[in-house]
Amino acid sequence: MSDWTNILETRGLTMQFGGVTAVDAVDFTLRDGELRCLLGPNGAGKSTFFKCLTGQLIPTRGSVTFKGEDMTGWNTHDIVNLGIGIKTQMPNVFDGVSVYENVRLSSRRKHMAPQAKELAEKTLERCGITHLAKREVGTLSHGQRQLVELAMVLAAEPALILLDEPAAGMTGEERDRLARLVLESARSAAVIVVEHDMVFIRQIAKFVTVFNRGAIFREAMIDEIMADREVQEIYLGKQANVASA
């Protein structure tokens, strides 16, 4: 495998659905170990962008390079096995089985059974859902499911973590814990976070990319972004001041 500095690179990445261009010629670069926040209006193309990175969608045009490997058009599972983990916007979990089993299925991917068990338990702990371990995921509340899915992503120990609105439906405290969790994970992996919750963003964000109409609109440090007139225009609204307070 060729040597690389940018863990992720997309070139001219484009996704079209019939008439709709959801992602439009995106050149995106992420350094190894970087924590990036991805903001943007509803329908800007953030989730679609993620789907293109994970092969859930085959991009119409352009390329995706991960760890120097061009994996455009690969099958999802092959891509994922290179070390990408994603928490989707609408939780994707194994409803019929226990929380523990959900996480173990993830940790087992890389480790032999005993280590997998350990790792699973540790991850449940980190996400603060150990008390739910035996519960059937289908019977959990929305927020609880979000956490379960997060645990599954972390348990796979990916090199690149994609989080699509992880804080959605989380209360103040869970949100703070989540923020800590994200920062902590960012030490061992590159992370891209999509979120609309500015309070949360303020807690984790350094460098930020803003999407609009499927294209990259701004890339700058968080404070710059918050201060940016146009970004406030298309996205933040009054939140700008609140959040920067």
Binding site: F17, V20, G40, P41, N42, G43, A44, K46, S47, T48, Q89, M90, G128, H131, T139, L140, S141, H142, G143, Q144, Q146, L147, E165, A168, G169, M170, T171, G172, E173, E174, R175, H196, D197, M198, Q232, I234, Y235, L236, G237, K238, Q239, V242, A243
Partner: protein, 237 residues
């Protein structure tokens, strides 16, 4: 005169697992009642119980003075209760337009006209009209869910985390829209939210729910600061 919605001693359970205990609260016309609570505390369950999805094991739910307990969901809906469920529940294979039309009672003309009004309230949906509901982005779906609910012109709206996944600027717009609605057509709202600011901006009274028990009312003064709120909500499970 009686309250529009009056919930008294309401208990509910999933099979044998209890989820609500003797919940009492009420909402008057044009009023917004907020409900806060940690994950898994019973907010959604409460909403679903009022709407009629969850089997109620005790207590009473009165709408406009008369009990709705016996009634099926659709009857409650027709009586004027509307729900914006957590997770949107968009009809994936209907177009956005169809999603809106389904719930609107009456003639084709009326339907078309109502849809128009909704597009006024939620301009974002205009260019999405003939897109598959399932194809929408999270936020777009959330907007659609709100619009779909309003299409029926409900007297009482149950909103389960309506701002989830919606971009900040639009949250503000929605906040204004809803406030306006409560003024103009004195629509009543029971609002479950995590976004303190949003809930503070709208609701007259705010309650905290913990392990299925509705705790004491939270003074609006406290709402601005999440720390003190969680104090009210009791400690995280």
């Amino acid at each position: 005169m009686s309250h529009l919605l009056e919930v008294s001693g309401l208990s509910a359970a999933y099979g044998l697992v209890p989820a609500l205990h003797r919940v009492d609260f009420h909402a008057d016309r044009g009023e917004v009642v907020g409900i806060l609570g940690h994950n898994g505390m019973g907010k959604t369950t409460l909403m679903r119980a009022i709407m009629g999805y969850v089997k109620v094991t005790g207590g009473e739910i009165r709408f406009e003075g008369n009990s709705v307990l016996g009634q099926p969901v659709n009857a409650r809906a027709r009586a004027g209760i509307g729900l914006v469920p957590q997770g949107r529940q968009i009809f994936p294979n209907l177009s956005v337009e169809e999603n809106l039309q389904v719930g609107i009672p009456g003639k084709a003309a009326v339907v078309a006209q109502t849809v128009e009004e909704m597009l006024e309230l939620f301009p974002r949906l205009k260019r999405l009209l003939d897109r598959r509901g399932g194809a929408l982005s999270g936020g777009e779906q959330q907007l659609l869910a709100l619009a779909r609910c309003l299409c029926r012109r409900p007297k009482l709206m149950l909103l389960d985390e309506p701002t989830e996944g919606i971009q900040p600027s639009i949250i503000d717009e929605i906040s204004e829209t809803l406030a306006a609605l409560t003024q103009k057509v004195d629509i009543t709202i029971v609002l479950v939210e995590q976004n303190l600011e949003f809930i503070a901006g709208l609701s007259k009274r705010v309650y905290a729910i913990s392990n299925g028990v509705l705790e004491k009312e939270i003074p609006r003064a406290e709402l601005t600061d999440s720390r003190s709120v969680s104090a009210f909500m009791g400690f995280t499970a």
